[in-house]
Symmetry: C3
Subunit: 276 residues, 3 copies
């Protein structure tokens, strides 16, 4: 491994991930989640297991107030409605005004023009991080739907990386494209996170929980690129540990929460696989 690669890797080394998790555990950030109906429960439980404090509140009368007070905001469009778009816009603007990091998860953005238009409005507010699966990131970058559903995977192809980098440059934010290998970029550097397990694709809400954990790590003070890579490594490592013994998806789901609680910063220092 060359010196240059070594230096880049160190910039988001296992130690960085370890520190990000330690900060999360220490600060217990309040993460405001505007997420989809299907995964609200598992998202809240993932945040609690990780050590953060979730709050779900989507009434227009209070969403902006709560977003402004929270340590971070998650906006996830999985089961979007017109009313919810307005709430998301207001909350994202409040988070931005308050200087709080906010994460956008464009779930199923290619499924309809309605979601694409909503995503465009939300993106215009300037998220700290966009985290989607490969198909969703390609859809956002190119404006053309890619993949058929929310559980698509495209792997770590060059096309995905190009899309992520282009999107990050255009939006001036960090972008994470998840898949067998996760890519995270700020438009300049690109990190690859090799943690994870195929069982994570067999349960609903794992991608959504990943977005929430990114928000929690950013809410605990980590910078966007290193924080997103750290959160994805942490989540992936928990998934690897939960998959030990090849459980079925039901037991895996329970164990994944167990491992989110059990993984220590030291475990993450030893187990994070992040490369530049």
């Amino acid at each position: 491994m060359g010196e240059e690669t070594h230096v880049s890797t160190t910039a988001v080394s296992p130690e960085t991930a370890s520190e990000a998790l330690a900060a999360l555990r220490w600060k217990r950030p309040l993460v405001h989640c505007l997420t989809n109906d299907v995964v609200a429960n598992v998202t809240a439980n993932a945040l609690l297991a990780a050590g953060a404090s979730p709050v779900m509140a989507h009434a227009p009368e209070e969403a902006a107030v709560i977003a402004a007070r929270a340590g971070a905001l998650l906006v996830n469009i999985g089961t979007l409605t017109r009313d919810r778009v307005e709430v998301m816009v207001a909350a994202a603007e409040a988070a931005r005004a308050a200087g709080a990091p906010w994460v956008f998860d464009p779930v199923g953005v290619g499924a309809s023009p309605f979601r694409q238009e909503a995503a465009a409005r939300i993106l215009a507010i300037g998220p700290t991080l966009v985290k989607g699966n490969a198909a969703e990131i390609v859809t956002l970058a190119t404006g053309r739907p890619a993949g058929r559903g929310v559980d698509s995977e495209e792997g770590e192809s060059r096309a995905v990386q190009d899309a992520a980098v282009a999107l990050a440059r255009r939006l001036r934010c960090a972008v994470a494209a998840t898949g067998r290998v996760d890519l995270v970029t700020d438009g300049v550097g690109v990190l690859q996170v090799h943690n994870g397990h195929a069982l994570m694709g067999r349960i609903t809400g794992s991608g959504c929980a990943a977005g929430a954990l990114c928000a929690a790590v950013l809410g605990a003070g980590a910078p966007a690129l290193a924080g997103a890579a750290s959160a994805l490594a942490y989540f992936g490592l928990a998934g690897e540990r939960a998959a030990a013994g090849e459980p079925g998806p039901g037991m895996f789901q329970a164990r994944l929460l167990d491992e989110l609680a059990a993984v220590t910063p030291e475990d993450l220092a030893a187990g994070a696989r992040i490369t530049a």
Copy 2:
């Protein structure tokens, strides 16, 4: 056992169920779920565990678009609202126009006139399959509320069978009435599915998941009568296996997903108990 009975049984034999599950695993149909808030997560997980691909989307701006593209549609009125009725009608019409199978699950239809009126509107569109518990099917067939709540069971009485047959004839579709023994009919033949376990009634959403699995099996190409019986036998067999060792309802819920993933077409050929 007479020849005639033998022939009818063979028409939806364990081999038929096995083939239906094999097709589901091979085709991985996209199942659009308009279902209730309480069970959305477990429904998505049941579909993923079974090998299908769930999509939940209930905005009026996109529900019909997604329904038209999906392999099958599920309409479940468990936590109905007026807005949701309109979305269900639009999506059902889109599915019908696209030639995609769609399943109606009249959860708690006897609970209020509001649900009965909504059910009447939805049924008029012409579902491929109506799947309810015995009380719900009797309510739809007679127009009079039967049973007090959504977790009612009435067993496999003659009254239930008569109601199911009458409903199937009136609607010209298949009807499944679940209970200790599930009845499935197309208005001519009646099949009994003997798989299942009492623990399935101790967790919320098992009936709703059964409806979703019916939609998935139909979405993979199975005809309505045989497909519904196959899906219910598959779900019931998974429940039997998950109940081994008499777990409590919490562990049973996790294991049920495990078994939905673990049951193979060969297991189903050996374990399906479908009689005419």
Copy 3:
């Protein structure tokens, strides 16, 4: 321990809790839940595991009809919207008119003026029991937000007890303030429930499930003060048993349902720790 204390304790003795659970198992009350989106599933499963029968229905067209027929009503404002407030008011009025007990759980009431105003409207209808965590009860009693989020805990301080008693006197109802030790009061007597485990705070919805179980016990005929203490002792004992072996939060969540089903009235007689 003095005679007077002994008498007061006996008034809500382990035997009382045992009888309350036996009545719940026998009567299987229908509990209408107007609760938040995040915990609807776990609330339904907790009620089923306990032996009650849950029904979730929040359409304005049917909520009052269903509330009037149910054995008890739960109103929980965790993910409140303006429309839902109207439904809660209508359902609470229907429950009151029908003479059915109803429980108010002011989740996160301190999070926004919107929730405080909604809580004030709902409280004016006259709940049978208000069950909140310590911060929520203090917020209701003082009108000033206490605690930062829904997972706050304040312990069993004198301030919490004073707030609970004042609130109970003002509303002329029972009040339960949960925490490391739960306090239950009718404005005159104060009971302490010592059952429970710290893991219950590591999963979402445990407080919400506690409120639902209170509604179920009241729906089975128990008086408010003794019923609430009994329900909280039952839930806490299930939590203690589920925590045996120090599982992670995912497995704990599954086991908690298992133990809600497994705890017998005899177990509760032996394990309830309620003091005056």
